[in-house]
Symmetry: D2
Subunit: 115 residues, 4 copies
């Protein structure tokens, strides 16, 4: 299921079936997302930066990481739906704006300074 | 752009054009995602839970929230791509597993206990 | 143990005894802190905003919350120590600066706008 | 100001003077803490793991990091106060429990697996 609208629809059905929308105000959903991001962090925190790519692509860490990243996406989809944000177009617009702000010709190979 | 594969491809091109993949180890991308989640939190933190839905759907907060949720998605897509996770199917699998774990007949109207 | 210097010293000893300083670069410690913040979020996410104070002050949630907030503090102390930040004075300086930025006479009863 | 009780008292006075306790339910304070953790993440995300220690200890990054870690501590103190958690003793108890769980003799030099 690659389509964000389909995913949104599936998540809506899931929640409607359980009458769980009542718990899903924006702040609670954001905290749930924070919880899932925390689980990703727990998987990666002690991995050496130099070998994390290889470690992740093989074995158990990969499976668990897939589950946790999925959870992050699911809560992100719920939070966007709750707040009326159309996530796909919003990402496309943001990517285009960022491309303009950091022209490839000027920023090639340079990490963008935050702030 | 609703298709997660298309979005992944667009983000790859964006980063390749700037030679930014070199900065994108999993731990750095996760911290970038944490930074964006933090910006969503700053938008919502003092909103009264009771009125956040209305406040978000009108005016300035909505625009900014769309931008920040977009950023979360963009870094999530990069992190999944870096770690070889296929985000769409992973979310579908997780949703199906969660549906089994919490049957609608048993959990209707009950917030799932964590832990 | 209320003194942040004492706590820092105790944490140093704990890590030195286990030879764990080697894992404690700033980015890894920050991810560990994110993981603990995520656990706090999982405890609070579905609590109704209106009753969380009472729910927390009684029973099991309180014990678990104390443990998770303790973990956040412990990693914060490690991160500060690793990056050479003297946490107590830094907090005092920041509080004084914030007090100047938001004079009580002008901001009484008004949530500070972020941004 | 190294004493967590003194810091708690200073933060209470700060908030009472501005009548800001009304905004400080646990979920809102946690989101504020998440926002500050996000700012720390933005400072560290693109720093190469190998040189972050040196980069942090010199110059501008250090000053900003001190400010952001201070903010994390301030919100942590507020969240603990709001939820009736005595942060210093809780940290001491947790450190002692962790020391028992991971005896130095057995875990020396081994990163603890997060489950």
């Amino acid at each position: 299921m690659y389509d964000l609208r389909e995913l949104t629809e599936a998540v809506r059905t899931f929640n409607r079936d359980r009458d769980w929308e009542q718990f899903h105000d924006a702040k609670s959903l954001l905290l749930a997302l924070v919880g899932e991001v925390g689980e990703v962090a727990e998987l990666l925190q002690w991995q050496p930066a130099a070998t994390v790519r290889e470690d992740v692509k093989a074995g158990r860490l990969h499976t668990r990481l897939a589950e946790e990243l999925a959870d992050v996406l699911l809560y992100l989809v719920m939070l966007a739906d709750e707040t009326g944000v159309d996530l796909g177009p919003a990402a496309a617009v943001k990517l285009a704006a960022t491309a303009q702000r950091y022209p490839a010709s000027k920023f090639r190979g340079q990490a963008p300074e935050r702030q």
